[in-house]
């Protein structure tokens, strides 16, 4: 089962796709989110979100600044203020 991952900034919806795992730079440390993760909410610090499309694949990194990550039934939603590139 893939994890539904959304990355949203005020300007636009940057990503909305199904992936294997996402590693999010939380304020209290990085955390990885897989499918079926318990409901969780965290502020994030400036850093790279690593997106693993498939198990074992090389991660794709997206630099984000300021925001929140929320894990719910619908998957992982990252609300970032800015996304590099």
């Amino acid at each position: 089962m893939p994890l539904h991952f959304e990355l949203v900034t005020p300007a636009k919806l940057v990503r909305s796709e199904d992936v294997h795992m996402v590693v999010v730079p939380g304020t209290d440390g990085e955390f990885g989110v897989l499918e079926g993760h318990a409901p969780f909410m965290s502020t994030i610090r400036d850093g790279a979100v690593q997106v693993y499309k498939t198990p074992g694949a090389a991660p794709e990194t997206i630099e984000v600044r300021g925001g929140f990550a929320e894990v719910g039934n619908a998957g992982l939603t990252v609300l970032a203020e800015h996304v590099e590139g």
Partner: protein, 290 residues
């Protein structure tokens, strides 16, 4: 009766005015499309943020709620944030906004509150100054940037939050246009600070959500962002409304100019014929007299 030359001059001047209004209309139509898609692109963020807010605000309530959510406890100093456009030629949009802001200010003053204005955009300054010259506070200039983005909303939000922290006001209202169609943009007044408690989302999953660092810390970081998002939304609505209203106003102006040209052309032709007839009569009368 104006002379033929004068009429010709007027027709030409109306024609060049029509060219300008037509060009402006087409520019507004193109920009409207862009502004609308920008407003649509911003919606997912707003929706998600509002949903997160709703779930958090219901958990953190009572005495330990942050000031931005519960208010300062008093209700005497009000700030009215008016979002106007920077450019004119957009029909009654700005005067409607100013009218709404004035009505709100008057009713608050009637209740014995202190009212101050914070103006965004150029066009609201003059009309509001006429009535509330001593109540105009700060002014944020958005005319230097082509299209206001989140950076501007961020700057406005930061300034407002600083004023709130310093106790400059207790309640802030946001007056901005809501784009419905190109024909109608309604001035809307929303409470900005303290953040109105969002309604509990129906069908809450009931699952226990873990928070990191903690509910209050997250809420404290989230509230300023929510205020800024509201401002950003207002700026985007303003853009769309400005171009929509401008398109409609310029369409009317182009049509009016067309009618005016038609009338003037008829008048011109009539006087030309009258002049020819008079000349002929003079020649014939002269020939007969010989």
């Amino acid at each position: 009766m104006p002379s033929l030359k004068e009429l010709k001059g007027r027709i030409n001047s109306v024609k060049s005015t029509q060219k300008i209004t037509k060009a402006k209309q087409m520019v507004a139509a193109a920009k409207l499309r862009r502004a609308q898609s920008a407003a649509e692109a911003a919606r997912p963020y707003q929706e998600r943020l509002a949903a997160v807010m709703a779930s958090l605000a219901s958990k953190v309530s009572g005495d330990n709620a942050p000031k931005l959510l519960s208010g300062t406890g008093s209700d005497t100093k009000h700030l009215i944030v008016v979002v106007n456009t920077d450019k004119g030629l957009c029909g009654a949009l700005n005067s409607n906004l100013v009218k709404a802001a004035k009505a709100k200010a008057q009713s608050l003053i009637g209740q014995g509150k202190q009212v101050e204005f914070y103006l965004v955009g150029k066009k609201g300054r003059a009309p509001l100054k006429r009535d509330f010259a001593d109540r105009i506070g700060k002014h944020f200039d958005t005319s230097t940037v082509k299209t206001p983005g989140f950076d501007e909303a961020d700057a406005i939000g930061t300034e407002l939050l600083e004023m709130f922290e310093a106790g400059a006001f207790d309640v802030a209202h946001l007056v901005y246009p809501v784009f419905k169609t190109a024909l109608s943009q309604d001035p809307t007044i929303d409470q900005l600070i303290p953040v109105p408690s969002p309604e509990e989302a129906a069908g809450d999953s009931g699952a226990v959500v873990e928070y990191e660092p903690g509910e209050e810390e997250i809420l404290e970081a989230l509230l300023p962002r929510y205020v800024k998002t509201q401002l950003f939304g207002a700026l985007l609505e303003r853009e769309a409304s400005e171009h929509g209203a401008s398109m409609t106003a310029m369409d009317n102006a182009t049509r009016n100019a067309g009618e005016l040209i038609k009338d003037l052309t008829i008048q011109y032709n009539r006087s030309r014929q009258a002049a020819i007839t008079t000349e002929l009569i003079e020649i014939i009368a002269g020939a007969e007299a010989l």
